[in-house]
Amino acid sequence: MKFSIYRFDPDKDEKPYMQDYEIALEPADRMLLDALIRIKTVDDSLSLRRSCREGVCGSDAMNINGRNGLACITPVKGLKEPVELRPLPGLPVIRDLIVDMTQFFKQYHSIKPYLINEDPPPETERLQAPEERAELDGLYECILCACCSTACPSFWWNPDKYVGPAGLLQAYRFLADSRDQATAERLDYLEDPYRLFRCHSIMNCTDVCPKGLNPMEAIGRIKTMMTKRTI
């Protein structure tokens, strides 16, 4: 199988280049990650992040034939050859397929991604009806792989000012939690021409999410909450 992979090692390369590989896959190599590990046995300098190899840790996000996805849950069969692999777009490249995610996590941290409830906790659990809990489905499952934010042109242009789809999905995860008391504070923070309103509903985020989540819908709901509180 043929691959064309983005290579850049700041220790020795002046600029990035695409390197071609051709390898014979074994029957056990079902996913793109398996193929990359096979390539790595021949060329140990090919650098990528990986860990769980089952799509829950979010390490091996990359741009696969022009589309962001996780290598470990992308079946290698059926990919158009040569399979073109590039680092996630819009973030600085550290090396090869490894990007610097500092900006991405900074935005995630900015929305206070934790439950805020100042009441003294009860001795047992805080009660939450199954319907209230169901509001969190499709939100809490985010694995912070950054496929969505790095597919978003608004995030490419303003990664320092626009929270981005991943951060906003989590902002809504806490806004939607019946146990959280910081709704006003959270909305105040997001009421800003950049943080929230840079979203122009391009929908790339929802389109590429490897977990099938819908950041755009969550962003829409935040906007609705904001409208509701002004009237």
């Binding site: 090692d9 700041p10 220790d11 020795k12 056990a28 079902r30 790595k40 046995t41 060329d43 140990d44 300098s45 650098s47 990528l48 992040r49 990986r50 860990s51 769980c52 190899r53 089952e54 799509g55 829950v56 840790c57 979010g58 390490s59 849950i73 079946p75 550290i94 090396r95 090869d96 490894i98 995610m101 996590f105 941290h109 206070k112 991604p113 934790y114 439950l115 409830n117 906790p121 001795e123 047992t124 659990e125 805080r126 009660l127 939450q128 009806a129 199954p130 209230e132 809990r133 969190l136 809490y140 499952e141 694995i143 912070l144 806490f174 939690d177 146990r179 959280d180």
Partner: protein
């Protein structure tokens, strides 16, 4: 992460080193739940949970630590809920609980319902919740830093670690008044493993290289249901929700092996039954080498609501939609019961001058890398997430206390980083050396063949020789990538050193234990032998010496559960 939170919230300065961004650690892959006798669904209490855990451990678990864990279970789960953990809920708004293997009411009676769950993504939800809470507490993370070696002074006190900043390739010394390992397991020593690539036993190897013994390394849990061919975990929650295993004749064979608990017998029991079925020719598929996990009878609604992650995995990795067809599964290496010996305060303990359990000053370990031991010879499902919460918190509290007495850094020896720098220098200058992935493959194949679900005297004996050969070859590994920047080849070579430590410890400990207990099943010694073997193994890396220490049979406040025949 739980320990870091305890320390940060107490106002201490914490540095958390992690090879990967914190939410990418392997806790993220835990599926089924957290054990706690909340009694939200069926009547329950911590004492029953304690009994189940002691029995599940095949009486090798230390009963003081088990009592400590089971008593605190409710509290740590409620605490997690208060942190924002999105637990599934019952109609009355309380935390949803599901049945799991080995859980009983009334000391071995009816099935208990004790696992607190977030669908089949409990570990993911828990890791993210704890990370989020740490963000709130301003914990400082050193992301993509790999600890290389433990630093000890001439008294054996631990002063910190040497570590590699993976992004820059720089080696640093992190000096600390307290050093805690929560470095996870090492089931990557087996070819067929549910574990993430990062689970290479780094903490164990660092401890072993620094002269700390490793405890009970012969005990590895083979999870009954890894996806055939891919190794990905299919949670026991599937069987907790009512799924069951079939052989090629469509027979629910667990009824023969465990008439009472059936498919929810303890994991060692189910894995052995499956291996026996396959060996006797009842396996499924062209090569008759796997079994089937049936759950379509649960209905699409239950599967989609309670087991959505499992469905996703089955479709992606087994091309089987469990709503319609069974999932092909096979027992797969999953969890290390052994580890760095600790007491229930998270303090590392080792023989030194006066006894087998002297505290190693400044050194703590919790979670899979530690051996408290609450899991003994076999861990019960959902006790591992509980373990990391209870002992993470306990170790945090112990450190807070200890630091009140130790207000200054101890003197750092001049050669503190020499060991780590020496290994790196050797790796960088090696010529005509061994290929890291080839040696790794040989290691994994050796462990898989010689130290699997059933263990045979001749295979173990050959296994010790073969793994020694692997260890020898691993001393001469060579990497072609010499870059300083994010050199993953270098990281993998260093990880191989660690895998070797874990694998040798396992093989040597397994060969020596001539009985069958929990997950250690010897063909030539099929029975448990309490007279000779009701004791913990201690393995010393330096000379591969084995020593033993007694099991702590006396709980903290209740009566001891004396060993008796273990049936399900």
């Amino acid at each position: 992460m739980r320990a870091a939170l305890q320390l940060s919230e107490a106002g201490l300065k914490v540095a958390v080193l992690s090879k990967v961004f914190p939410t990418r650690s392997h806790t993220v892959a835990a599926q089924g739940g957290i054990a706690a006798a909340l009694g939200n669904v069926t009547e329950d209490n911590w004492h029953w949970h304690m009994y189940d855990t002691v029995k599940g451990s095949d009486y090798l678990g230390d009963q003081d630590a088990i009592e400590f864990m089971c008593r605190q279970a409710g509290e740590v789960v409620y605490e997690l809920e208060h942190y924002g953990m999105p637990f599934d809920r019952l109609e009355n708004g309380k935390i949803y609980q599901r049945p799991f293997g080995g859980q009983s009411q009334n000391f071995g009676g009816a099935q208990a319902t004790r696992s607190c769950a977030v669908a089949d993504r409990t570990g993911h939800a828990m890791l993210h919740t704890l990370y989020q809470r740490n963000v709130r507490a301003n914990t400082q993370f050193f992301v993509e830093w790999m600890a290389l070696d433990l630093i000890r002074d001439e008294h054996g006190d631990v002063l910190g670690v040497s570590a590699l900043d993976i992004e820059t390739g720089e080696v640093m010394i992190l000096q600390a008044r307290a050093t805690l390992f929560a470095t996870g397991g090492g089931a990557r020593i087996f070819s067929a493993s549910t574990n993430a690539f990062i689970n290479t036993g780094d903490g164990l190897a660092m401890a072993a290289r620094a002269g700390v013994p490793l405890q009970d390394m012969e005990f590895w849990q083979f999870h009954p249901t890894g996806v055939y061919g891919a190794g990905i975990l299919i949670s026991e929650a599937v069987r907790g929700e009512g799924g069951y295993l079939l052989n090629k004749d469509g027979e629910r064979f667990m009824e023969r092996y465990a008439p009472h608990a059936k498919d929810l017998a303890s994991r060692d029991v189910v894995s052995r039954a499956m291996t026996t079925e396959i060996k006797e020719g009842h396996g499924c598929g062209r090569d008759a080498d796997h079994l089937l996990l049936k759950l379509d009878h649960l209905g699409a609604d239950v599967i989609k609501a309670r087991l959505p992650g499992i469905r996703e995995i089955a479709i992606k990795f087994a091309h089987a939609d469990p709503v319609r067809e069974p999932i092909p599964v096979v027992p797969t290496a999953h969890y290390m019961m052994g580890g760095i010996p600790t007491n229930f305060h998270g303090q590392v303990v080792a023989p030194y001058k006066t006894g087998p359990e002297e505290v190693v000053q400044g050194f703590y370990a919790v979670g899979e890398c530690a051996c408290v031991s609450v899991h003994g010879a076999n861990r019960l499902g959902t006790n591992s997430l509980l373990d990391i919460l209870v002992f993470g918190r306990a170790a945090g509290n112990q450190i807070i206390e200890d630091l009140k007495r130790n207000s200054h850094h101890k003197h750092l020896p001049g050669d503190a980083a020499d060991k780590a720098l020496g290994r790196l220098a050797r790796l960088d200058s090696q010529k005509d050396g061994e290929n890291v992935s080839q040696v790794g493959d040989m290691l994994r194949k050796t462990m898989q063949t010689h130290c699997g679900v059933f263990r045979f005297a001749d295979l173990l004996k050959q296994g010790v020789d073969k793994i020694s050969e692997v260890a020898q070859r691993a001393r001469n590994t060579e990497i072609r990538d010499k870059s300083r920047v994010f050199n993953t080849a270098r990281v993998e070579a260093l990880e191989l050193d660690n895998l070797v430590e874990v694998a040798v410890a396992t093989m040597v400990s397994a060969q020596a234990r001539t009985e069958s207990r929990g997950a250690h099943a010897r063909d030539d010694f099929p029975h448990r032998d309490d007279d000779k073997w009701l004791k913990h193994t201690l393995y010393f890396s330096e000379d591969r010496r084995l020593d033993y220490k007694p099991v702590r049979l006396k709980p903290l406040t209740v009566e001891s559960f004396p060993p008796k025949a273990r049936t399900y």
